[in-house]
């Protein structure tokens, strides 16, 4: 029951708790003094024990009055100081932080990582500074990102960007709660932050799984979007009503909708789904509130829209029992089938961002998990090959080899075994495009 007491999982939680306990300690002292004296006086000077002539009409006593003005003032400044020093630590953003975008909206959290990866729970490596950039869609409402175990909280305000940071050395899963009232789903706007061993995090980060706990092949894009866009907060898949209509069996059905105040009947087809995602307030299914669903059009592209439509269609096929089981069944699907196929000449920069390279390799010279790729081409590098240090020049063949068999020659100072062998995951054309891109980074 009191597990929360021990959950101080961020580096500054101890300082926040110290500020808390110092203030509670001083307060408890004052309380005991005030109430103790009060109770003592009530007993000692109860009318049954005091004769009228023993009453003393003391009007003031300067030394005492000065004491109880000055001493509490000093104590107050002590409390202020500890609060301030904990706050300073909470708010001094580290420069070298791993930055994750947090999108809070009614009523879901989405986390967007530097490599474009999205998740519905926040996964972070242990022992690293994590900085969060908090956003809400401009037409949404206030939220507040709160992790009790880390002692951090900051409002998520539409139309502006707020920040917070933390660093946790304690591997584990912690609650994320919305602390600023945001409507019907407020108390369900929960998530988790999972602090992972760095290697496990890196492996997940380079993969294309929604969550490190996903078994088998990654989920289909439609389901991933259903989770990460926040649809699941309001639209169930089992026919139950959360906030909006359930997706179960809705495709092809006749529904009654309100169109600018007038009731009409329509069939849920592709066009209607498209409309509902882009302009949710246009035709609202009868009995549901208007203006709750956000306009998602600037958060998804054309292909993603198709994936969503496909996903909703699937919920109306009778053989579909549960989506996640379906996803597990389709193990045969190639690992990268969820990524849209590129049309035309391959774009190395896009591959760099979508295949996960950007998660570990910066382009500006800063050190992340792997070496920066700024000016890598034709640079001298000390690498470890089969335990021996040697010096090489990063030419085209080295770059190509590093993508295909990254652990053959590892740059000195970096860990071996972190980077997955992309040889099996990328086509030769894609590797060519990446190498070409890397050559261009000066």
């Amino acid at each position: 029951m009191l597990a929360g007491f021990n959950q101080n999982a961020s580096t500054f939680a101890a300082d926040v708790d110290r500020a808390f306990w110092i203030s509670v300690g001083i307060s408890a002292m004052m309380f005991i003094l005030v109430v103790g004296l009060m109770l003592f006086f009530i007993v000692r000077y109860h009318s049954s024990r005091v004769k009228p002539e023993e009453i003393r009409n003391i009007k003031h006593y300067a030394p005492l009055e000065i004491a109880w003005t000055v001493i509490p003032t000093i104590l107050l400044f002590i409390i202020f100081y500890y609060g301030y020093s904990a706050f300073r630590e909470l708010r001094t953003m580290p420069k070298d932080a791993f930055t994750v975008e947090v999108l809070g909206k009614r009523w879901s959290w989405t986390f967007i990582y530097p490599n474009g990866k999205k998740s519905t729970e926040l996964y972070v490596p242990a022992g690293e500074n994590i900085s969060l950039r908090l956003h809400a869609p401009v037409d949404d409402v206030l939220h507040s990102f709160y992790v009790p175990a880390f002692r951090v909280k900051e409002d998520v305000v539409p139309g502006r960007e707020n920040h917070l940071w933390f660093k946790s050395d304690v591997v584990g899963r912690y609650d994320v709660e919305c602390a600023e009232y945001c409507g019907t789903g407020h108390s369900r706007m929960l998530s988790k932050v999972e602090v992972m061993e760095k290697t496990a995090f890196d492996a997940w980060y380079a993969s294309d799984k929604l969550s490190p706990h996903d078994k088998g092949a990654p989920k289909e894009e439609g389901e991933v979007l259903y989770q990460t866009l926040g649809c699941s907060a309001c639209h169930s898949l089992d026919g139950s009503i959360i906030v909006g209509p359930s997706f179960k069996g809705i495709f092809g059905e006749k529904v009654r909708v309100l169109t600018s105040g007038k009731l009409r009947e329509l069939v849920v087809d592709e066009a209607y789904i498209r409309d509902s995602v882009r302009t949710p307030a246009k035709d609202v299914v009868e009995g549901f509130g208007e203006g709750i669903m956000p306009n998602l059009s600037d958060q998804i592209d054309k292909q993603q829209m198709e994936a969503i439509i496909e996903f909703i269609k699937k919920q109306s096929r009778p053989q579909n029992k549960a989506v996640s089981q379906e996803a597990v069944k389709s193990v045969e699907a190639p690992a990268l089938s969820t990524q849209p196929k590129q049309q035309g000449p391959l774009d190395g920069a896009a591959l760099f961002n979508t295949k996960g390279c950007v998660g570990c390799h910066s382009l500006d010279g800063s050190k992340r998990i792997g070496p920066s790729l700024k000016g890598i081409y034709q640079s001298r590098q000390k690498v470890v090959t089969e335990g021996k240090l040697r010096e090489i020049i990063a030419d085209e063949s080295y770059l190509r080899n590093s993508i295909q068999n990254p652990n053959a020659d590892v740059v000195e100072g970096f860990k071996s075994g972190l980077m997955p062998p992309f040889g099996k995951m990328l086509s030769p054309e894609e590797i060519d495009a990446l190498v070409k891109y890397l050559r261009s980074i000066k």
């Binding site: 009060m38 006086f41 009453i55 202020f80 909470l90």
Partner: protein, 548 residues
């Protein structure tokens, strides 16, 4: 001598119909009772809403309410308790009744304006309740109406803000009336430092009402600009800033907190000397601390916004200023405790409520320090810790003081005595119940239970269950208070002019008072709480000449 219940003056002259005699009366005592009747009716509705919520929260998960209904309930509870009950609160009800009696005046300076204030209050109540109920359902924004949620929801924010504006106007007029009355109508000889401390509390309150309340009007004007002309002020889709709304809201609503509490402090300072049979300790420091709380209270609103995204420097400054308010508040509490020293303490019902309120308010005030410590507040903000803190100050503090004051002046207002035994039982129920209800919430908040949660994580179940039991005790305590007052009216003993051996002027006139209070205005050249060997020093004859 006929009392004010038997004869009255109305704004239109005379009426035969007793209802008209009441609702058009310009007698401050009748107007006070009009306020009291409406306020306590609303109070009991809002308590019912609270008990309903506690029942829903008794187990985790959904019991019998929809999440949306729950949100509507806490909005109703907050709006009613804050805007309709506790802000007009002690000042409009007990203050209206007692102020002229305590300074030796026949009425307020502007009796007609006083009636207008009540009518505006009624208009405000009707507007507020109807704006909550019209629209597409009941408002579910919480009593703070934060933008942009209040803009996105179907609730009628414009009319709710209009209600706040009308109530504000009523409040400003009452404040103005009090300030002028205190400056102009004190009995001859009574300088500022011979006024009873309840009057000092009302004086500080009145200035807050006059100076802080106009911000509500400004906010309303800005919302109208935004809604009708499309000027982006609070709505980010129009380029506005939701945080500006928070600033404007709290610039009024934080001083409003002191507006609630200062008259309550005044009641404590009245009751203590009477039931210790001695003069109050530190009269001047209590009087001046009321004024300085009112002053500093304007400068601390930002502590409601420590996680809002306001600049870090501003947060630190607001944290520092917040601690400054604690100094005069602490001084008051020490003065009260010192008043118990070498007195002769009588634990009558008003005294129990007052002592209980000091204990509760001390907890509320001290936990306010923890919340003011900015690093700790980041964690505690918007959790049950905050909810517990302000219920300790407002319910455990102000409402206890209010009820204590009602018991204290009940004989003066009604001419009857309530049953002492029932009064003490009701206090016991309420004191134990209140602490059961709210203390666990401090822990739940510290452990990370956010406020305004329809549902909670199962780890928090024990706290909510203890609170549920406490809520039942609080509700039954309140009902017992009400029943006791009702029986007192029916079968209470005659109180006489001064059943408590009080010293202030209201105890020198009959209970209930006659229409214009004082047949002759007394000359006041003595301090308000003068006892000798446990007996009031000053005595008047029937023509208000001092005989002792």
């Amino acid at each position: 001598m006929p009392s004010f219940y038997h004869e009255t003056q109305t704004v239109f002259g005379t009426h035969k119909n007793p209802v008209l005699q009441w609702i058009f009366t310009i007698d401050h005592k009748r107007i006070a009772l009009l306020y009291m009747g409406v306020m306590f009716t609303l109070f009991f509705f809002a308590v019912s809403a609270a008990v309903t919520m506690r029942a829903e929260l008794f187990f985790p998960g959904q019991q019998f309410l929809q999440p949306h209904t729950y949100n509507e309930l806490f909005t109703f509870h907050g709006v009613t308790m804050i805007f309709l009950f506790i802000v007009p609160g002690i000042a409009a009800a007990l203050g209206n009744f007692m102020l002229p009696l305590m300074i030796g005046a026949r009425d307020l300076s502007f009796p007609r304006l006083n009636l207008l204030s009540w009518w505006l209050y009624i208009l405000g109540v009707v507007t507020a309740l109807s704006s909550l109920m019209t629209g597409n359902g009941f408002a579910d924004t919480g009593w703070t109406f934060y933008a942009p949620y209040s803009i996105r929801t179907d609730a009628h924010v414009l009319s709710t803000l209009s209600a706040a504006f009308i109530l504000g106007l009523s409040s400003i007029l009452t404040g103005l009336n009090f300030v002028v009355t205190i400056h102009r109508l004190r009995a001859p000889g009574m300088d500022f430092f011979k006024m009873p401390l309840f009057v000092w509390g009302l004086y500080a309150t009145a200035w807050i009402q006059v100076l802080a309340t106009p911000v509500v009007g400004i906010t309303l004007l800005l919302v109208i600009l935004e809604r009708t002309l499309g000027v982006g002020i609070f709505d980010p889709t129009k380029g506005g800033d939701p945080i500006l709304y928070e600033h404007l809201f709290w610039i009024y609503s934080h001083p409003a907190v002191y507006l609630m509490i200062l008259p309550g402090f005044g009641i404590i300072s009245e009751v203590l000397p009477v039931f210790t049979r001695r003069t109050i300790f530190g009269y001047r420091s209590i009087a001046i601390s009321s004024a300085s709380i009112a002053g500093i209270g304007y400068l601390v609103w930002g502590h409601h916004m420590f996680t809002s995204g306001m600049s870090d420097l501003a947060r630190i400054i607001f944290s520092l200023l917040t601690f400054l308010v604690a100094i005069p508040t602490g001084v008051k509490i020490f003065d009260w405790i010192a008043t118990l020293y070498k007195g002769s303490i009588i634990l009558a019902t008003p005294m129990l409520w007052i002592l209980g309120s000091i204990i509760n308010f001390t907890v509320g005030g001290l936990t306010g320090l923890t919340l003011g410590a900015i690093g700790a507040d980041i964690h505690l903000h918007d959790t049950y810790f905050v909810v517990a803190h302000f219920h300790y100050t407002i319910l455990g503090g102000v409402v206890f003081m209010f009820i204590g004051g009602l018991h204290y002046w009940y004989p003066k207002i009604t001419g009857k005595l309530y049953d002492e035994f029932r009064g003490r039982i009701a206090f016991g129920l309420m004191f134990v119940g209140f602490n059961l209800l709210w203390f666990p919430m401090f822990i739940a908040g510290f452990l990370g239970n956010p406020r305004r949660y329809f549902d909670y994580l199962p780890t928090f179940t024990p706290f909510h269950q203890v609170a549920g039991v406490g809520a039942v005790l609080v509700a039954s305590g309140l009902l017992l208070v009400l029943y006791n007052f009702y029986r007192g009216l029916k079968e209470g003993k005659e109180a006489g002019a001064n059943p408590w051996n009080g010293t202030t002027l209201e105890w020198h006139i009959p209970s209930p008072p006659p229409l214009e209070n004082f047949s002759k205005i007394p000359y006041v050249d003595f301090d308000p709480y003068e006892y000798e060997n446990g007996e009031p020093i000053v005595q008047f004859d029937e023509n208000f000449r001092r005989v002792r």
